[in-house]
Symmetry: C2
């Protein structure tokens, strides 16, 4: 996985406008927002799904960049004072703290535009129709019926008790949509006759939900130093989570059940899903 | 022009998620942001350029929607407290006033995603490669080297004196980029052998700059009641404008000069640019 993480870092570095290109302040802040580390889980999913269909690695670099740019923009906006109001991300000050709020707003806006520019300016699929489909998938996953919609439900839910289906409805959008899109985009990058796309999609849905359950457990049980972002935020913000709904023990059981489901689905894919299995391991076994 | 304005209103209404679709608050706010009137100058440019190349009107509807969604998202974010902090737009409370700041942030984000979804989900050009080019044009025009970059320069320039080339550099990006993209997208919607694309591009550059000069004159000389947004904001925000740089008389001269240039370029196009001439008239002769 380190190899893929370093591939996407290099590709992101090449794609982001130089910090000395005008407007310098905005471009430097865009680099600060994107190049500050992170696990690069979504790019890893792009590469792993792409390898299953023997996709061209240079194409996968650009697709991996596009999903990471969308993810990075969402973090910058989510951290702003009018949203989660967080001052720490990946162990460093958040963008609106290091720069200012207006810069953070424009950084997020420009990173989203850049994601669609990256997905449209070079050949990334065997047919251009396939590439248009990829853009449509990313746009839907990011929009009001995907990630932005999940974020809106998250904000509406502060202080409310959600049922488990309501919590799932939110997370399928807030984090699940982009994770699912990452797997689909990687797999659409080349024609695949031996890959069961439905199984791949089931895997990404389960892994996406699992990712969130583990995130909730980490927020409740880990420390700010280990997370590189403020721990215990969900409880102090009175946000419904799998931990607040189910308690730690049942939330852990749910994570284990989702991990088993994910690994079961992978058996239906060539080479047992190959690297997707490693990423599932990574998602489900992050440090508590 | 009324016919095209009503066409794009209808198309926007059909494209925006229903206000009773979850998350209802976000979808209702997206509709509030987009459906509140406005001159629809960018859609008018799409239709007029598209007519010159005999493009399919149903395709033009969707392209017109995409550019208007990008424009609408930029207004919602620009009005937020951390940017221009404006409470009035098109004669109504701005989105963060009518709803709240976090909703305004997500409305802008989701409208941008929706623009790219609209440009990718149906066939909009004679070849799919042409449609990918259209997406690339809109993404570049919206991003850090286009509209968002112009906005960043605008914020950096508060309280500073800019030279005329610096002011032009900012406006070419802040408002010019999307106006230019609107004309290009309309013209790319069908193959055109008799249309001089370079002349069309020169027209849109001149019209885009003229639009801004007229906007600066309106802000300085008109009333809040007529504009439907707060008048005199530029001076009270200490922003460099063509009026602050050149004074009213020379700014008016510049607008007239740009109008003559725009009409000259149109003579090089079939039917004298057809409806583009009407829109130039509209841009340059708005009420002072």
């Amino acid at each position: 996985m380190l190899e893929q993480q370093s591939r996407v870092e290099k590709a992101l570095n090449a794609i982001l406008p130089a910090a000395d290109q005008r407007p310098e302040g905005l471009h430097s802040a865009m680099r600060y927002a994107v190049m500050g580390g992170g696990k690069r889980v979504r790019p890893l999913l792009v590469y792993a799904a792409g390898e299953l269909v023997s996709a061209n690695p240079d194409r996968l670099d650009l697709i991996a960049c596009a999903v990471e740019l969308i993810h990075a923009y969402s973090l910058v906006h989510d951290d702003m004072p009018c949203m989660d109001d967080d001052s720490l991300r990946r162990g460093r000050p958040t963008v609106h703290v290091e720069y200012d709020e207006s810069t953070a707003l424009l950084v997020g806006d420009a990173l989203q535009s850049l994601a669609f520019q990256v997905l449209s300016e070079r050949e990334l699929a065997d047919e251009p129709e396939g590439q248009l489909q990829m853009i449509e998938i990313l746009a839907s996953a990011a929009g009001s019926r995907g990630m932005a919609g999940g974020q809106a439900i998250d904000l509406e839910s502060v202080g409310r008790e959600l049922s488990e289906p309501e919590l799932e409805f939110m997370h399928v959008r807030k984090t699940g949509a982009l994770i699912r899109a990452s797997v689909r985009l990687g797999a659409l990058c080349a024609r695949a006759h031996n890959v069961d796309m439905e199984a791949l999609d089931r895997f990404s849905k389960v892994a996406g939900l699992g990712f969130q359950v583990v995130d909730d457990l980490l927020d409740a049980q880990s420390s700010t130093a280990i997370l590189g972002k403020t721990a215990g935020k969900d409880a102090s913000n009175n946000k419904p989570t799998y931990v607040s709904l189910l308690g730690v023990v049942r939330a852990r059981d749910l994570a284990e059940e989702l991990q088993r489901d994910a690994l079961d689905v992978l058996k239906q894919l060539p080479q047992g899903g190959a690297r997707l299995g490693d990423i599932a391991g990574f998602i489900f076994n992050r440090d508590f």
